[in-house]
């Protein structure tokens, strides 16, 4: 088939989220207990949809759904193998960035909707963080698209058949990695929920199916950004011996493992210092990365 059906994308989302859950256990060094995990998942889903004492009904209930839609939409743009992708869009990387952009209002809606002081703080933290990191993310996408002369993810993969973009543009790769961790609100950028600081923050009010959707969306997001990282920087499906889809899966798992491992090695970032780093360092460097990409394109990719 030339494209995955929506059902196929959902299957990848669910399967990927399960794999991420396993990876989390592996990285944390805890024993994988499928029975316990299944019981936890089952009881979580069966919990009643309890609402906080004061909350904004629309925002509160729309946020998890919007978050999941954004995550699945981002996942759909990832090229898993030649002809094996959800959406074959000419400006696929822009669509990917556009889908991720909806994570920002979703998290803010959750924080504002729950109405607790720490929930609101979590929402505002996220808004500030994403405003700061959206620009480097978009500029890095431009930098890796330039050599391919295309915004289609599969074209960017093809241009890396000889050398992965991570080696050609290490600066862009270094800027991309923290930005995608931030998008997934995973440690050390788990600022909107930050259990030990905000007690769950923006998502503390969710129970039952709502909580399960937030959990699922966060893991689907990780699969999506890991897959896109493999496609944009690690030559995607290119590799010896193994089938293309397997290479892509291996690289995706590698990126996801790196992200989860880094989250356990680094302390949670502080908002003020993180924002200062983003605006004063990451954004200027992203412009430098575009200039480098232009020079490289003129020199080697024309």
């Amino acid at each position: 088939m030339s494209t995955l059906t929506p059902l196929g994308v959902l299957a990848v989302a669910l399967g990927g989220a399960g794999c991420v859950a396993v990876l989390e256990c592996v990285v944390a060094g805890t024993r994988l207990a499928p029975a316990t995990m299944a019981r936890l998942a089952s009881t979580t889903v069966r919990q009643p949809l309890r609402r906080p004492a004061t909350y904004d009904s629309w925002l509160f209930h729309l946020a998890p759904g919007l978050l999941l839609i954004a995550a699945v939409m981002a996942l759909a743009t990832v090229p898993w193998a030649p002809g094996f992708r959800g959406v074959d869009f000419q400006a696929g990387v822009i669509l990917f960035g556009g889908a991720l952009a909806y994570v920002t209002p979703a998290v803010f809606m959750a924080g504002w909707g729950v109405g607790t002081p720490l929930g609101v703080v979590g929402g505002f933290r996220w808004l500030a963080l994403m405003l700061a990191y959206a620009m480097p993310l978009a500029m890095v996408v431009t930098a890796v698209a330039a050599p391919a002369g295309s915004l289609r993810p599969s074209d960017i993969v093809e241009v890396q058949h000889a050398v992965p973009m991570a080696l050609v543009q290490p600066l862009a790769f270094a800027l991309w990695l923290p930005a995608i961790v931030a998008v997934c609100f995973l440690p050390p950028f788990d600022l909107p929920q930050a259990d030990s600081e905000l007690g769950g923050g923006a998502f503390a009010g969710y129970r039952g199916l709502d909580a399960a959707i937030v959990w699922l969306a966060q893991r689907v997001l990780l699969v999506a950004v890991s897959g896109m990282t493999a496609a944009l920087f690690l030559s995607g499906w290119h590799g010896p011996l193994l089938p293309p889809a397997i290479w892509m899966a291996v690289k995706t798992v590698g990126v996801a493992t790196l992200v989860l491992w880094a989250g356990r090695r680094l302390p949670r970032m502080e908002v003020d210092r993180t924002l200062a780093l983003a605006w004063k360092v990451a954004n200027p460097l992203a412009i430098v990365a575009i200039v480098i990409a232009g020079a490289l394109t003129l020199a080697f990719y024309r």
């Binding site: 024993r31 207990a33 009881t43 720490l118 609101v120 050390p188 030990s196 998502f203 302390p267 908002v271």
Partner: protein, 457 residues
């Protein structure tokens, strides 16, 4: 329906601990937390570990917590080895008041105590709002008394301007009134040091002193408690910062000290300490793990990133604020009750001092003090004849606890207890939080290692 989950050593179930992890660790009940993956988010918890009985002061907090917990959460009530506020066994002072001539030499402590302002002492600090210059709607927030990983019983009332702390006040809710001649441990985070202080106070009230062997054991027990207290605090700091290498290193060090902690008299009468000293041979293992921890704390870039330059207290400020214990020593102020103690002099004690006075210096100093405490405990258990600790018969007994000097004196038919430095530390912490973003403010608050127990008159 209550969810039943098997808790094993390797499987981890999200759990919330009441009142806090430090209390369970300090009271020697760490095994109760085995199999729990501690979470500070009540909504994520599947098991709640709670002491039986829960202190009355936490009832309101527990009620608020129940609103946040999932409906099917399992609550695991367990009795602590030392029930909170328990009386100290085998220590009883005669009901007759000491002679009037025995009261001199300690007047500066009389009538003073931690929390002069009453049971729910509150210190409000107001600073300049909005460090970034923006005018935002303020948010009133009462963080606590069950706000893990901060100690349960500590409440931080703040006004947030955006996410910047504009006003701050700290309350210590927990309190035990030592009514009558039987002393009661007034701070569950410092059970051994208070027990030792009471023992010495009782001996002094009778005009004598504790025996030589018992004195060395007391000293070793206090030092081991200091090590455990600092490690438990470092671990909670690691949880606050979400710094897993620090959490794991502290857990390893605590496990290594676990066997040695048999000499700590959590649940044994004072007279049984000699028999309980068999754990001493395990101390070298604890030292190795602690050495690794000190290296980690000293070299960790993550800790430096989060704590360096935060809440700097100069030596002069520490002195003018009346700060004691590790907080003052991290600022370079050499205030340590052990310095003048001939027993510590015999052991070659040299107080650790910091210079920077920031949150990082406080963390490094506590890690170094934990290592030094294990060394002191080992030397004390190997030492022979014990010199007299000095002091005036009938005067106040003083011991340097993990957070500063602790003093007890029996006079006029009542106990006078002082935890010097606790109130200034709360005031300094509240002051230091103002103007900081919320996560930085919490890290600064944690760096003071405040006790939720209010001690004194």
């Amino acid at each position: 329906m209550v969810l039943r989950l098997r808790r094993s050593r390797h499987e981890r179930v999200p759990g919330f601990v009441i009142p806090d992890e430090q209390t369970w660790t300090l009271l020697g009940a760490e095994s109760a937390m085995a199999g729990l993956q501690l979470t500070a988010n009540p909504a994520a918890a599947r098991v709640v570990l709670a002491p039986d009985p829960i202190p009355d002061e936490l009832a309101e907090g527990v009620a608020a917590l129940r609103e946040l917990l999932p409906d099917d959460v399992a609550i695991d009530y367990r009795a602590l080895p030392v029930p909170v506020g328990t009386r100290v066994r085998d220590l009883r002072v005669g009901t007759e008041a000491p002679a009037a001539g025995m009261e001199h030499g300690h007047g500066e402590h009389d009538g003073h105590g931690d929390g002069d302002g009453g049971h729910h002492d509150m210190m409000a600090i107001v600073g300049d709002p909005s460090a970034d210059g923006l005018i935002m709607e303020s948010i009133q927030l009462s963080h606590g008394p069950l706000a893990a990983p901060l100690p349960g019983g500590l409440v931080v009332d703040v006004t947030l301007d955006g996410d910047v702390v504009a006003e701050s006040a700290i309350r210590a809710l927990l309190r035990v009134e030592p009514a009558g001649p039987e002393p009661r441990v007034p701070d569950a985070l410092t059970p051994v040091a208070w027990t030792v202080v009471f023992a010495e106070a009782v001996a002094r009230a009778g005009g004598g002193s504790t025996g030589s062997e018992r004195a060395w054991l007391s000293l070793a027990a206090v030092e081991l408690e200091r090590a455990v207290s600092h490690l438990a605090w470092l671990r909670s700091l690691g949880r606050l910062l979400d710094l897993h290498p620090l959490i794991e290193a502290c857990t390893r060090s605590l496990a290594a000290l676990q066997a040695s902690r048999a000499i700590l008299p959590y649940d044994t009468p004072h007279d049984d300490w000699l028999e309980a000293a068999v754990g001493a041979p395990d101390l070298p293992d604890g030292r190795d793990a602690l050495s690794d921890l000190v290296k980690l704390v000293t070299r960790s870039r993550g800790l430096r990133w989060r704590l360096r330059g935060r809440a700097v207290l100069t030596k002069a400020e520490a002195s003018s604020r009346g700060l004691c214990g590790p907080v003052a020593r991290a600022s370079g102020r050499a205030v340590d009750g052990r310095t003048d103690d001939p027993r510590y002099a015999r052991l070659g004690f040299d107080p650790a001092l910091g210079t920077q006075g920031d949150a990082l210096a406080r963390a490094i100093l506590r890690a170094e003090e934990a290592l030094a405490a294990v060394d002191l405990a080992r030397r004390a258990l190997e030492a022979d004849a014990c010199p007299d600790a000095g002091g005036v018969p009938g005067g106040a007994a003083v011991t340097e606890g993990p957070r500063g000097p602790l003093s007890a004196r029996w006079t006029d038919g009542r106990w006078l207890l002082v935890a010097a430095g606790a109130e200034p530390a709360r005031r300094a912490a509240a002051d230091a939080m103002v103007g900081l973003e919320w996560s930085a403010a919490l890290a600064v608050l944690a760096s003071f290692d405040l006790s939720p127990w209010s001690v004194g008159a």
